[in-house]
Every structure is written in C-alpha cells, then in structure tokens.
C-alpha cells in the first residue's frame, strides 16, 4: 500500500512515521513537501507531528493553507485514509476535516510522557486490531492537546462512535488524574463521521517497536492495512 507523509516546515515526527511504515511494515512511502500539490497516488496520508510554521497564530492555523492541503482534503473526500498525529491532529481540525480544536493544556505544562490510552471502539479502520476497552501505553508530547468542542458536537461524536481513543488510567478508568491535558470528556483521538479521517494527540509511531518500550501503537497502522485488505507485512 502506498503512503504519503506530509512534511511542513517544523514537522519533526515525519521520519518516525516513515520509519515505521517503511522498515517495520514494509510499505511504500513517499515524503510529500507541503508545497507540492500531488500525493503521488498514495492511498493513505499521514499528517505528522511537530510545530508546523512554529505554531504561529494557532497550532495548525497556517499549515492548513499549504498547497498540499487541497490534495489532503480531496483524498479525505474520496474516502482515502487520512491520519493526523499530534500537530497533524491540530492541522486537520483547523482545516475543518475534524470538528473541534486543540488548545493550551489546562495545566499550561508541556506534557512529555507515556500515558494509558483506552480504545473506545474497535469497529473502525483505525482500531480493528484492538479490542474495546483495551488500554494502550502511548507517548504524548504536546503543550496544546486540550480538546475543545461545543456540547452538541461532543454529544454527536459519542453518539456516532467517532471517539476512538480516550485518556484513562492503567485500569481503563477515566479519572481527573488520568487526563493529561484537560481534554473535554478525556478525548485523545476522534475520527470524522465517514470514519476515514483520524486525529489523535498520542504518538502511535513512537510506540511501534518493542525496543522502544511499547509496540501498542503498531496495531493502529496494521488496522489501516487490514481494513484495506493489505496482507500484514513481515516485520523487518
């Protein structure tokens, strides 16, 4: 399967995503510069983490005007897989591909640690290799990961099973202490109504090999492959 990893000025998780796709999952991957207008035939797009445009104005606010974003929106409209991680999640929200917005962490602290993340629904193209309520250990590294939307949007996200990941404790319980950034209703990752666009603050690409301490994130990528009927590749 062919993947595109978008590079903005300030992206810094692009190589991590590329490594997992190319070397762990044996996928075809292209880096796509933000000024390009074509995804080179990719069936899946990753908008990686980082600090695109220095987070000027608001996180993701300027990146969404990059030329490549028209192609990303088109891919999303065609039902192709679009995955936004951390800053990529912020960009997808600013671009209107996902509802809501990510604001400054409630504590004002930049949180850089591994946290438990609960899988809410395995019936999606991003989570089918997980089980309901499964607790993953995933790294987070963000200052603006506090998910905000109005109450009607939040209700709708839950009703339509678009909340795929929430912050929890190690037992899967959502407690105030287990919410690292103040996200409303503990939201860590959401998909669009059609189910082909996912944004999440935790970094599955940094937890895709045992040697890194956790490979709990790998199943997110293998879920996408399985949903597209791609046979699981041998690990390198």
């Amino acid at each position: 399967m062919r993947w595109a990893v978008i590079q903005f000025p300030g992206s810094n998780c692009d190589q991590d995503v590329y490594h997992v796709l190319k070397n762990v999952l044996a996928q075809e991957v292209d880096y796509i510069w933000h000024k390009d207008s074509s995804l080179k035939g990719a069936e899946a797009v990753v908008v990686p983490g980082g600090f695109s445009y220095g987070d000027y104005l608001r996180c993701g606010a300027i990146a969404r005007f990059s030329p490549i974003m028209a192609a990303v929106k088109e891919a999303a409209a065609q039902g192709k897989t679009v995955l936004g991680i951390c800053n990529g999640f912020q960009i997808l929200c600013e671009a209107g591909l996902l509802p809501g917005v990510l604001v400054r962490n409630k504590s004002l602290h930049f949180r850089c640690e591994t946290v438990p993340v609960r899988v809410e629904h395995p019936a999606s193209r991003f989570t089918r290799e997980y089980t309901t309520g499964q607790v993953l250990q995933l790294p987070i590294a963000h200052g603006e990961g506090h998910y905000v939307a109005d109450e009607a949007t939040l209700d709708s996200l839950f009703v339509h099973k678009q909340v795929l990941f929430t912050y929890s404790d190690n037992l899967g319980r959502t407690t105030p202490e287990s919410n690292p950034n103040g996200s409303q209703r503990h939201i860590a990752g959401i998909c669009n109504r059609a189910g082909n666009v996912l944004g999440l603050m935790p970094h599955p690409e940094r937890a895709s090999e045992k040697i890194l301490g956790s490979d709990d994130g790998l199943a997110l990528f293998t879920s996408i492959l399985a949903s597209q009927g791609v046979p699981l590749a041998q690990a390198a």
């Binding site: 104005l57 608001r58 606010a61 005007f65 600013e94 809501g100 917005v101 604001v103 400054r104 962490n105 409630k106 504590s107 004002l108 905000v148 939307a149 109005d150 103040g182």
Partner: protein, 98 residues
C-alpha cells in the same frame, strides 16, 4: 491607506489557562483587586486603498478564516483611514518619542 486592528480573545465559555495564570501572578505581585484576566492577541494590518466598506468585507473573511477560530475565540475589528504610508508613519512616531 487603511489601518485595521484585530483583537482576538478567548470566548467567555472557554477556560483560558493563560489568563488564569496571569491572574494568579498578579495576586502574587500583591495586587488582590484583579479578579479575572484574559489573554488574547492583537493583530495590526495595513491595507492599500481607502474604501472602508470594501476593506471591512475582506477583513471579516480574514478574521473568520485565519486570524480567529470561532470554536474558541471571538474577535473585534477596528478600521481607521490613515493618510500617511507605513514607512512615513514609523519615523514620525520615533521623532515624537525622541
């Protein structure tokens, strides 16, 4: 030339952790009368032309689509017509200070 000032601030319904931290810092400074603080942004723009009505339409688009995010922020747009250009205005301002 037209000058525009855009004040972007967090919506009242959205918790503003920066404002909260600033408010607490003010209290540490020994001033107990300040009960609330909100931190926003001030963006100043200079536009060519002198058609305020036309400029306002363009600026409303800029404010809604880029300078603010309506999910979390409100904005206030103020327009003024200015006769001098920016390059002339800056030295003039410096002279006043000197």
């Amino acid at each position: 030339m037209i000058r525009a000032q855009v004040i972007v601030r967090p919506r009242a319904s959205i918790f503003d952790p920066q404002g909260d931290a600033v408010c607490r810092a003010i209290q540490h400074l020994g001033v107990s009368t300040v009960q609330q603080a909100h931190v926003g942004k001030c963006i100043e723009l200079e536009l060519e032309g002198n058609d305020l009505a036309k400029a306002r339409i363009q600026l409303e688009t800029i404010c809604k689509d880029l300078l603010s995010n309506p999910v979390i922020e409100d904005y206030v747009l103020t327009l003024t017509e200015a006769s001098e250009t920016a390059s002339e205005a800056k030295p003039a301002a410096k002279k006043k200070k000197a």
